[in-house]
Symmetry: C2
């Protein structure tokens, strides 16, 4: 017998009975593989009996053979010789895992665990894992050390308003908005670090690009000559991630109907002042010194795309629009944003590494240097010039999977309304 023997586990997505044959569409436990399991009464009456009583949504294990001649047009055809039901649904499935009836995003989020039986859903989260893995691979091969910094903190990077507060054994504590202060402190003793980490932001926004808990890739590097070095690493990182996804996730991209093109390199460097002029030509009136909002970012993205640029840096931001830790260059700053088709993916810059200038910057921003003494101390012991960036992992996965809403790429999103599941 030349047919190959197999043992498979997964869920029954749909069932069809035709005469003495039962056809089960089964999705594999973990991969994108779909099996058409064929059970013939004539061949195996006992197994056929069990198969005809099976419920859609059941978790099953199948033993069988893969015939050399494949008739099924959807998924690998398997002839079952045994079939074991491991768990049956005790309620109607909240969505159709076969994907024939489309599900609303709210339904998917509410039942992500069932939705993950849909090929498209799996594709998104498999790509997400590949993005994380490719980012680490790039950073480690460039000498960055993975670190873990605290999420419960005594002070926040940007001051109070956007921090979640908690009681820490009778003291007031905050959830970390980003590892900003910690990764900078580390620059006093190690030259390149990165962290994949949750960010917590208490901003009460309701948009398709923000969440109150998100994941980011935070990078910091010391002994730099200029901010260009940091942008170089970020550009290399993005390019590597796109290339790796294309290389190893072609099935997942196909399942999503995404034709992924690597961003045009070198990334365009767009001056903040130029960006304002573009906006002006498009009818937006932004005063010099103001930060750009989502609407403006989107307009610039469309403009840049017409010019042939998908990914671009916005550089030379006014210092007034940036946090205290960014290095000043007169009225300007050594900060940058990285946008992709109008969506901000990352922001970063060179930091102020000189103690006195840093204290002064904190004061100018209306903050109290005493609140940052634990951080400022690290600048007293030979802090080299340094800089880095925070790259939104969720947003990077959004653009790669061409998802419109950040909630599509986060298993259990946290927004103003959603604390469960």
């Amino acid at each position: 017998m030349s047919a190959q023997s197999v043992k498979l586990s997964g869920w029954v997505n749909s069932i069809r009975a035709v005469g003495g044959i039962v056809f089960l569409e089964v999705i594999d436990g973990g991969s994108l593989d779909i099996y058409t399991v064929v059970v013939k009464k004539s061949r195996n009456p006992e197994v056929w009996q069990r198969a005809s009583k099976i419920k859609t949504g059941s978790a099953i294990t199948i033993r069988g053979t893969i015939p050399e001649v494949q008739v099924s047009k959807r998924g690998l055809e398997v002839h079952a010789t045994n079939l074991e039901v491991l768990a049956e649904p005790i309620d109607l499935l909240p969505l159709d895992p076969a994907g024939t009836t489309p599900a609303l995003l709210d339904t998917i989020i509410e039942h992500r665990y069932v939705a993950l039986r849909m090929a498209k859903q799996r594709a998104i989260f498999r790509i997400r894992a590949i993005v994380a893995s490719a980012a680490r691979e790039y950073l480690e091969s460039n000498g960055f050390l993975e670190v873990h910094t605290p999420k419960i903190c005594g002070a926040g990077a940007e001051g109070g308003a956007t921090l979640f507060q908690l009681d820490y054994f009778g003291r007031r504590a905050f959830l970390s908005q980003s590892p900003q202060l910690y990764k900078q402190m580390l620059m006093c003793g190690i030259s390149r670090v990165y962290e994949l980490t949750p960010y917590f932001r208490a901003e009460p926004h309701s948009t398709i690009r923000h969440l109150n808990e998100s994941w980011g890739i935070d990078v910091e590097m010391g002994f730099i000559d200029s901010v260009e070095e940091i942008m170089g690493i970020l550009e290399g990182l993005i390019a590597h991630v796109f290339a790796r996804v294309k290389e190893v996730a072609s099935r997942e991209l196909d399942a999503l109907g995404v034709k992924l093109s690597e961003p045009r390199r070198p990334f365009k460097h767009l001056d903040y002042s130029e960006a304002l002029e573009i906006l002006k030509s498009l009818g937006f009136e932004i005063d010099w010194g103001q930060d750009l909002g989502s609407t403006e970012e989107k307009a610039i993205g469309e403009f840049m795309l017409k010019e042939g640029y998908d990914a671009y840096f916005i550089v030379n931001y006014p210092w007034d629009a940036k946090p205290f830790y960014i290095m000043r260059k007169g009225k300007l700053s050594a900060a940058f944003d990285l946008d992709y088709k109008g969506l901000e993916l990352a922001s970063g810059g060179q930091r102020e590494h000189r103690y006195n200038e840093l204290v002064e910057n904190i004061r100018i921003k209306g903050l109290n240097p005493d609140d940052f003494s634990f951080y400022l101390k690290a600048f007293k012991y030979g802090m080299p010039p340094h800089g880095g960036f925070g790259l939104g992992l969720d947003r990077l996965v959004m653009v790669i999977t061409q998802s419109q809403n950040i909630r599509e790429v986060v298993l259990f999103p946290r927004d103003r309304q959603r604390l469960l599941p």
Copy 2:
């Protein structure tokens, strides 16, 4: 000229001037490399001038050559042709980065960023990164998908007492103690997941093996036949991590004076009841049904080591000592702990995947099933048999680096007293 030209960046750990020569001991920015930088007045009076004025602790960049004949006994000898001071300390260093004068752990924790210039400190955190990377490598090669589950939650896995609370837009929320409930819910749609994640526990303990924020490697697998499969993955993971550290971190292990031996395999399976008998023979009186504390774990660890076992599972725990989600086996449970020389590294088990039994278990534990409805729902749609474990990353790094206190392997530890830095 056959000497090799180099450009190096790092910190000056110590300075010695002998006649017309200045010797700087410099630690590299990121690696374990130590350089002995030699600056001769006769050869380069201007650079020598600068070198003689340098302060210990400064961040510097050196250009120079590596002579073919190396005289220095400590670190690579480099003859400086240029030397640039990037940043000078404005205060005395809080510890001796050359390691000649040992520093107290409290001083190190308070100034971890400076302490990272010490070879031993770097070795610990380089090994930590290798452990994380090796764990991911093993899990991914075994088909586990990296996931990110929420840290801000509407309910905790084990009930109230040990949870940090916060205000979430006017609703009461908790910090995740572990991804337990979420990784289990995912088993309803994907068969193997893992997450590297912070754990938050509001337990007011003060020990050398606990922190209030720690990192763990959480694993869950579906379609299992028995708890043995889970233990098999955990054993394979531990073995792979030890082997990988030995393979790629020999310099780091040397710096720590650690001779790492891979744990004896197969790991011994010690019955909970046997453990009680061992304890009895050692003079401990533990009632059947009680959980084992640190003292008992340590005593068993010493006993097992004498028998030739460093790593061992404790199995067949009484169900009363375990959480509601663990599967019952009469009075016993399908739970296990993994201990290494008396330190608990991981705990896990097969879960109760049947809806009605799970609801009943929640009730028996005195909890309200309504509080877990978001979780229980996932058990209605064909939840296969599954199980997993949570492995303490910090503790794993502790045993590999032979550190006595968990605070040695965490950059910025969080305990009852420590919220800063």
